[in-house]
């Protein structure tokens, strides 16, 4: 009896060892431990064994049964692991192959710079305002102290559509609009960015370009002065061009400011040593600025005895070209996808 049991055990273990998959194992389990299995049959026939032998054989049968069950469950576990690893192996992919390209759009360099300028001035309490691109003579010139007959109003330099309407030649037009729209005649701190148009087209001038205009008006007793204009533009230039930039104010002439200045900054390219870009002067003319002309204040409803202010303006295209090292202005307006898609990431901080 004992020998027979040992034999069953041995042959069971051998069979389990040969099993290749879970189904076979399941079948074998039934065969070895099911109702019709040898072991079950033996348990059933325990009655025919001598009573004193019965407990001994019985426990031996159970012991062997447990042992077989354990072998089966071990085998099952091993097979499952094997199956899983086979499945995983099968699902293995080339992780170096490229990820699905969700198209990444890009922001035009001009608008990148515009947004940066807007944010800078908003952080200093300026309001960003907007104005029409199709302007009237009145706002583009007259209200800015450029009377009829002034050379800057020459038809040949502007895109007129009637004797009255033209594409704005400067964002300064928004100065007059802002002052006039402020019916309470309260202090103003505004910037305006946008497209401007002049009748010229060459390697360094596009007939359509972009400007930013700033205007600050406050009560005279607050002493908004040339020194404040200087300080403000220092902040602007250092942020947009670089911390090391120096500014040079050169007295100049604009009809809407008095005194007027042209503001040079250290040449972006050579850092002031002198190069072809700065015509060996080390300086690049960047901004026009000045203290708002009393006539402009008066014409737009502010009493020049009570209010004073400053204004400034600059071209954005060149700032964008400098910022991104764009070598030819024409790239900005050709809209070659190979150009546009280069501006598809966050700017460095």
């Amino acid at each position: 009896m004992k020998e027979k049991l040992e034999k069953i055990k041995e042959s069971a273990k051998e069979s389990i060892g040969k099993i290749q998959n879970l189904q076979e194992l399941q079948d074998l389990k039934v065969k070895l431990l099911g109702k019709k299995s040898e072991l079950s049959t033996m348990l059933k026939s325990l009655g025919s064994i001598a009573a004193e032998e019965r407990p001994k054989i019985g426990s031996l049968v159970n012991e062997i049964r447990n042992e077989i069950e354990k072998s089966i469950s071990d085998a099952e576990k091993a097979l499952k692991e094997q199956a899983l690893s086979q499945k995983l192996e099968k699902e293995k992919i080339d992780i170096t192959a490229p990820g699905t390209k969700v198209k990444r759009g890009s922001k035009h360099p001009i608008n990148r710079v515009i947004e940066e300028i807007q944010d800078l001035f908003v952080s200093m309490g300026y309001d960003v305002v907007d104005g029409p691109e199709l302007e009237t003579d009145e706002f583009c010139f007259e209200r800015l102290n450029l009377p009829d007959g002034h050379p800057a109003r020459d038809m040949q330099d502007s895109f007129y559509i009637t004797n009255e309407y033209l594409l704005r030649t400067q964002t300064s037009a928004v100065q007059a609009r802002t002052m006039l729209a402020n019916t309470e005649k309260s202090p103003i701190r505004m910037v305006c960015t946008g497209k401007t148009y002049r009748r010229e087209d060459d390697a360094t001038h596009s007939h359509q370009f972009n400007q930013v205009e700033g205007l600050v008006i406050d009560k005279k007793e607050l002493n908004v002065s040339l020194a404040d204009l200087k300080g403000t533009l220092e902040v602007f230039v250092k942020k947009m061009v670089g911390e090391k930039s120096e500014l040079r104010f050169r007295p100049s002439y604009f009809p809407f400011t008095e005194p007027s200045y042209e503001v040079d900054v250290t040449c972006f390219k050579c850092g002031g040593k002198g190069c072809p870009l700065c015509k060996k002067t080390g300086w690049i003319e960047l901004l026009g600025a000045g203290m708002v002309h009393p006539n402009v204040l008066k014409m737009n409803g502010y009493d020049p005895e009570k209010y004073a202010g400053f204004a400034f303006g600059t071209g954005i295209d060149r700032l964008a070209m400098f910022r991104y090292g764009i070598t030819d202005m024409r790239y900005l307006y050709t809209n070659d996808v190979r150009f546009l898609s280069q501006f598809d990431r966050k700017d460095e901080e």
Binding site: K101, K107, G149, R189, H207, V216, D218
Partner: protein, 788 residues
């Protein structure tokens, strides 16, 4: 304005070197283009050609032996006019010529050459100033030229020139005298007096000559006469100063008129008095009147031109160009001198038509009447001295100018407030003294008497600018304004739309607003008047765009031509129009998409109508218009769109945009566009973004498929489902459309329906009747059939 340093030194003492002078002038507001020697060539010496033989190996070169003082050099020279025993300009080895050439000891076709014999244009003089011989060959110096010495000094060409770019308001600086005042202010030097001394004789001109002015556009007209002039070449200093100022010397008389203009800023006109008669008149031209100007061209005059006449016919265009008939010639004996002030705007208008000249430029900027009187005296003085003229007594004067000096009151506080400085009164007064402005003081108040030469100064702020300039802007410390703190504001809607479009994979463009008039009415059925430029630069861009689609389509074509097939671009920009006599502009969002939308391994998507529609919907949803828009067939056919793949975008009953495929006749490749008028759209208020309670009970999803007529739209089906679905139907989405031959005129459409409740978990018993109701409704309203 080209400033000759030698010239200005007549009037002010300048110690500074050229570069320093240029920089110092820049700092006070006078920018310059260049500052260099009149003759930039270096290492030049006077030589004598001792021997000149033909080059053995050339048909035009000569081998010369040239004595340059301390040695005799072998020089190969190609000039046709080189010969023995002439004095020449020699550039020694190491010399740099203005064209960049550096002279080296060399060998030319086997012959040694240790220098170069120079033409004047090679050392820096423009050919337009040179004689025919000098244009075509080397310069031959007079026999007395000292060998071994500096030829530039010998020729009195040792001048230096700064080319200033002056601001429009500083007409006073278009004169050497004006420059002298400016330089004097910088270096604190007094300006010397202009020498006007001369003799006069004969009968007073007023007895024999009349000046008539019959227009308001001439406020001052002076006439004098110089008799028996001797026309000859001008002295070197006059010629060289004219050349330095970029004016071609002609003869002593003509040169003097230009010289005085340069010196004092007042243009003069010299007439041959014997061809003039006994009167001169200034009036407006009659329309149809003709005049042959001294360049030989017959001009048709307009009634906006100021003309000078001899009493009967026009003899000159005032301030712009003289007439041919009365010009100074070799034979001229007697000269009538005109010194006048004409209206700047009129002169500018006429000169733009005819020619912009040194004279017209000065009239345009405005002139000082006191200077006009000075100039006519200076002219007779120089004619007496350099043209042997006898000056006739008397000046005929027509004068309606106001020569009162302007007085401006200014406080030291005014100055410091505007500049943000702390300049002392003494420093302020010092500035006015340097500028040679007279003033009186009354406590802190200063009354400045502005000299008439400074036409640009009329208000207090102008004086403040002067103080800032001369005191030095560099000495003003920058600071930030101390003003009440406030929040800055910016409308971020456009930015957010832009960022959204970018995250949807589109590249932002920036296109031109000006387009061709052929394109302006395309891609729209809106009626508007196009806005044409009065004076376009090119016919290609002669009108303001209405829609951005033509701009973006051009960009697509450009990229396609450069083999870029996948183009997904967008732009936010303005479109312009005239409607019912009113001009206007709208901000529009436009997108164009073609080619592959996204690319992955086994996972690509070509752009089709639904892709671009999806982008448009995404933007509408993002802006808060979800559920408020519909896409419908345009009421009018728009020729540039595929008639079966185009829709107007309707938000709350108003059309705000269009989406569609470009007509295959225009683009064979499938190209899709949409445009939304942001002004119309954003005028529609959106509801506040607000949290909705999330149901804790699970939803049940059920799919149905129906077969129905092909032409029934998704919108129509949706309406029926929504209406019959009741409260429990929380969402429905179309996920499949299927057509094939066996279905004939019908199609199969599948919807996923989501049911849910905020109060309980739904059971099939509750959901199934709703589905039945939906199906029933579809059967009844759309003759649909449930697909089993």
């Amino acid at each position: 304005m080209r400033l000759s340093k030698n010239f200005v030194k007549d009037y002010v003492d300048v110690q500074a070197d050229l570069k320093t002078l240029a920089e110092d002038m820049t700092r006070v507001g006078n920018e310059y283009d260049s500052a260099e020697k009149l003759i930039p060539a270096t290492k030049l010496v006077i030589g004598k050609v001792l021997e000149c033989k033909n080059h053995p190996d050339s048909d035009h070169l000569h081998c010369c032996k040239v004595d340059v003082g301390n040695e005799v050099l072998n020089i190969v020279c190609g000039a046709p006019n080189v010969r023995e025993n002439i004095k020449v300009i020699v550039a020694l080895a190491g010399a740099e010529l203005p064209n960049g050439l550096v002279i080296k000891k060399s060998n030319i076709r086997g012959e040694e050459s240790n220098g170069m014999i120079c033409a004047l244009y090679e050392i820096g003089l423009d050919k337009k100033f040179l004689s025919e011989e000098d244009k075509n060959g080397i310069h031959i110096l007079p026999d007395d030229a000292p060998v071994g010495k500096d030829p530039v000094e010998y020729l009195k060409l040792d001048d230096e020139v700064i080319d200033f770019e002056l601001t429009a308001n500083r007409g006073d600086l278009l004169s050497i005298l004006g420059m002298a005042y400016e330089i004097g202010a910088i270096y604190d030097k007094k300006v010397k007096e202009v020498d006007l001394s001369h003799r006069e004789s004969g009968d007073d001109l007023n007895n024999s000559f009349e000046v008539r002015v019959n227009t308001d556009n001439c406020k001052l007209f002076l006439a004098r006469k110089a008799l028996n002039v001797k026309i000859k070449e001008s002295p070197d200093f006059i010629k060289n100063r004219l050349i330095a100022s970029d004016i071609r010397p002609i003869n002593n008389v003509v040169d003097i008129s230009n010289y005085v203009m340069l010196e004092l800023g007042q243009p003069l006109h010299f007439y041959d008095a014997d061809r003039l008669g006994n009167c001169i008149e200034t009036r407006m031209a009659k329309s149809g009147e003709k005049l042959t100007t001294l360049d030989g061209i017959e001009r048709n005059l307009e009634d906006t031109d100021i003309v000078i006449s001899d009493g009967t016919r026009a003899i000159g265009l005032a301030g712009v160009m003289g007439g041919l008939d009365t010009e100074i010639e070799e034979t001229t004996k007697n000269v009538l001198i005109e010194a006048a002030i004409f209206d700047s705007v009129k002169v500018r208008k006429t000169s733009k038509k005819i020619v912009r000249s040194e004279a017209s430029n000065r009239f345009e900027k405005g002139l000082d009447p006191n200077r006009t009187y000075m100039a006519i005296e200076r002219a007779v003085k120089l004619l007496e001295e350099y043209a042997d003229a006898t000056v006739q007594k008397g000046t005929v004067v027509y004068d309606k100018t106001d020569k009162t000096e302007k007085k401006i009151d200014i406080g030291v506080k005014d100055i410091n407030d505007l500049l943000g400085t702390n300049i002392s009164k003494a420093d302020v007064l010092d500035v006015f003294r340097k500028l040679d402005f007279k003033y009186t003081e009354n406590g802190d108040l200063i009354t400045v008497i502005v000299p008439t030469r400074r036409l640009d100064i009329s208000i207090k702020e102008d004086l403040i600018e002067e103080v800032g300039r001369i005191y030095g802007v560099d000495n003003i410390e920058g600071k930030l304004p101390v003003v009440p703190m406030k929040i800055g504001s910016v409308d971020r809607t456009q930015r957010e739309i832009r960022d959204r479009m970018i995250s949807l994979g589109l590249n932002e463009t920036l296109s031109y607003v000006l387009i061709n008039d052929k394109d302006v009415h395309k891609y729209t059925s809106d009626s508007f008047e196009e806005l044409k430029l009065l004076d376009p630069m090119t016919e290609e861009r002669n009108v303001l765009r209405y829609s951005l689609i033509p701009s973006l389509y051009k960009i697509y074509e450009y990229n396609k031509a450069h083999y870029i097939k996948d183009v997904s671009i967008f732009e936010i920009g303005k479109g312009f129009f005239k409607k019912e006599e009113k001009y206007g502009e709208n901000t529009k969002l436009c997108a164009l998409m073609t080619g592959e939308y996204y690319l992955g391994i086994n996972n690509q998507k070509q752009v089709d109508f639904y892709v671009i529609k999806g982008v448009a919907e995404e933007i509408l949803n993002y802006l808060g218009y979800e559920g408020r828009y519909s896409f419908c067939l345009p009421k009018q056919n728009i020729a540039e769109f595929h008639p079966g793949q185009v829709a107007e975008i309707n938000v709350n009953g108003e059309i705000i945009g269009i989406v569609g495929r470009i007509h295959p006749e225009i683009s064979k490749e499938p190209v899709y566009v949409f445009e939304i008028n942001l002004d119309t759209l954003l005028a529609k208020k959106v509801s506040k973004m607000k949290f909705k309670e999330i149901s804790i009970y699970p939803n049940i999803k059920k799919d149905i498929a129906i077969i129905l007529d092909k032409n029934i739209t998704s919108d129509e089906i949706s309406k029926v489902i929504k209406k019959s679905g009741g409260n429990l139907l929380v969402n429905y989405e179309m996920f499949d459309v299927y057509e094939n031959a066996s279905l004939g005129n019908r199609k199969s459409v599948a919807y996923s329906l989501t049911f849910g409740s905020n109060t309980k978990t739904l059971t099939d018993d509750e959901v199934n009747p709703v589905i039945e109701k939906i199906v029933e409704s579809l059967e009844k309203n759309l003759h649909a059939e449930l697909r089993k």
